[in-house]
Symmetry: C2
Subunit: 418 residues, 2 copies
């Protein structure tokens, strides 16, 4: 079927024509269809049977232009092909942490999936100070399962390289290359600054030799290192969560890239939440440390649980592989040394990427509501400067870090409220 853009008016008829939909909806006569997308890139609709409200799906369709600008800004709708393939791939390894897919069409650039509207977006809920006791467990599982099983540590050489080819994602990678790794670190007209941020603060980032070289190194890694199939945009706005369940959504930026980019994205966003709550917790009338402590603990357990799960998968795979490489008397110990070195490199990558993701949210075009919605601009600038200075230290000194707790220590050191 050739591509056509659906609308609230045409969706019911479209869904009725799809055999898979009969398993979800007992009737198509009274569908309640609402648009729920945030409106930047795609259209997202919630479709519910008015007669039986538990019969519901989310329908996401890409349009061939940047929606907020209009048809004058073309964007290939093929990004939905990547998103669908990435969702399917992730559901092979941790179906419990990605939305169930009922139907998809590459031609129509659309996917029909589980209605997650009972789960809020993580970022918004964290701004309100809500706790997610299972977040670290779920996200560490999602990352360990996906990153390990799409890397050369697990995949056959042919399968891996065909995956690289299949997931080449030129246009969406370019957005990251520009808006995460370039524009925020130069005097670019796309940047947006809090007017209370001093010029000297901005220059302390944009004109620092070590920092700029380090960011360029992270950019090179992003552009060249085909380590595993990554989500590519794993911030707290790409996660839907309740206390019990966690779903990772929107993998349209997926490509075969460095593992640390996903780990860094989530760590960086949790750190920004931590800094923002220096301002937000007192405002919510709360004792300022308790929630922030939970955030730091979440970072720490997310990392350490990731390491445990990743190593577990690696050891099991190695033991069943029949490989000769570590098959000698001291091989068990040497293989352990290798894993430690690999994990340390990954930690340092993750710290470098987390830093880039943090600093760009302060100086670049795209902000995070956690910080950018702070209405007191002087307070916002104070939080922004903490973010920038911690980011600067993280990226320039990333090779000195030996454990995630050193990152936590650094964040606490820069925060004013203890």
């Amino acid at each position: 079927m050739a591509y056509r853009q659906l609308s609230i008016e045409s969706i019911a008829e479209y869904l009725q024509g799809i055999p898979e939909m009969k398993k979800v909806f007992s009737s198509f006569n009274e569908l309640d269809i609402r648009e729920i997308g945030d409106g930047n890139l795609n259209y997202v609709y919630l479709v519910k049977n008015k007669e039986k409200p538990n019969e519901s799906v989310a329908l996401k369709q890409a349009v061939p232009f940047l929606r907020i600008v209009g048809e004058s800004w073309p964007l290939p709708k093929e990004r939905m092909t990547i998103e669908i393939k990435a969702l399917l791939k992730a559901s092979e390894w941790c179906p419990q942490n990605v939305p169930e897919i009922f139907f998809y069409s590459h031609e129509m650039s659309l996917v029909v999936m589980k209605d997650l509207s009972s789960h809020g977006v993580l970022r918004g809920q964290m701004i309100e100070g809500m706790y997610f006791p299972k977040l670290a467990d779920h996200i560490s599982t999602y990352l360990a399962q996906n990153l390990f099983h799409t890397s050369d540590l697990f995949l056959d050489h042919r399968e891996k390289k065909e995956m690289v080819r299949e997931f080449i994602n030129i246009d969406l990678c370019k957005i990251t290359e520009d808006f995460v790794f370039t524009h925020p670190y130069e005097q670019n007209e796309t940047n947006v600054y809090n007017p209370e941020l001093k010029e000297s603060d901005i220059k302390s980032i944009q004109e620092d030799s070590n920092l700029k070289i380090s960011v360029a190194e992270m950019k090179k890694k992003f552009m060249t290192e085909a380590q595993a199939l990554i989500h590519g945009d794993l911030h707290t706005g790409s996660i839907m969560a309740s206390e019990e369940e966690t779903f990772v959504i929107d993998p349209e930026f997926a490509f075969v890239g460095p593992m640390g980019f996903d780990l860094g994205a989530i760590i960086g966003n949790l750190l920004m939440s931590y800094f923002s709550h220096e301002y937000r917790q007192p405002l919510l009338g709360r004792e300022p440390y308790q929630y922030r402590k939970w955030l730091l603990e979440t970072i720490e357990s997310l990392w350490s649980e990731f390491v445990n799960k990743f190593e577990h998968l690696w050891i099991n795979h190695q033991n069943s592989s029949g490989d000769l490489y570590w098959d000698y008397d001291s091989g068990v110990e040497h293989f352990k040394n290798q894993r430690e070195k690999y994990i340390l490199d990954l930690l340092q990558d993750s710290i470098g990427f987390a830093a880039c993701k943090m600093m760009r949210r302060i100086l670049g075009l795209a902000k995070v509501a956690d910080i950018a919605d702070i209405t007191d601009l002087k307070e916002r600038a104070r939080i922004e400067n903490i973010t920038l200075q911690v980011g600067k230290k993280m990226v320039t000194e990333r090779k000195k870090f030996r454990s995630i707790s050193e990152v936590i220590d650094l964040a606490q050191e820069f925060s004013t409220l203890k």
Copy 2:
């Protein structure tokens, strides 16, 4: 035209049917056709007009199996597609260092190119102790031009990623992954050892924790880092040279990989020549150091000239790009710092790859004649152990090297004859 395997009998008629060949041959009546391939993978023929011997070409055709084994070992003939594309790409940037192509056919998996038979293979000529005063200049040009212009430092993001896709080279990369980075470092049945090499010497490589982790890191880099279009097999057997001219041939292993792999291949092979001449020069009745000194000087100038040329290309491109990244008062100096860091990383990569290429030639299946043809097996084992020990130090301590002269010093330190 569908694929068919050519033979000495069918080549004349085939060439006569190709319009481009009429520019080379004034007549097809008296062609002298001889097979000159080394016979591992492909068929190579030399075609000469008996009446006018300066009318000649080389014709290379891939067959869909490993030639030395036979049809029981299938190899995709599509490797010739990669070879042709890589030759064409290199001839964009340094036509003087690759054979001129007169005609090619992806369907027939063949290429017709300049007859280089007046230039010997570099390895054989170096075994005989011949000097090549322009080698460092030519190869450094070839590498600087090709590596720079196929990297993200030069290419547009889209062109680069389409190049990655186009040059995915699954089967030939697998040969390198196995025979350069894996089998030689484990007790693999494909390995071939000089019987005079002691088991303890072999174990000092195959059971050393740091060494094996380092080799695995180089393998990971080879498998994941899409830095530039590399030749992929740049040893001294892939170079045809006279005193005046140098041609790089046989890029069938080409793919978008780490730059240091090409630099390391040539450095490693020159080092092995250096070690071998500890035995060969006295045998040739020569003062043992003079030729070896030339080899070390060649390594040193190959690297330093590469750096000069690469930096020159980079600076010119940056200055004409209109990029904002380094466009501020101290930007010139900071950009210089960036280049230094980039080049240092590349040196350390090259040293690591050189080491892998050296050690595998001692322990793995594929040998280099420089060392493996030494008939005195005890002497050969002595040279092999020097190669292994220098390789071990290079790969495990690669991050400590700050200049190419430290590599030269190390090689001299381990050589017995001063």
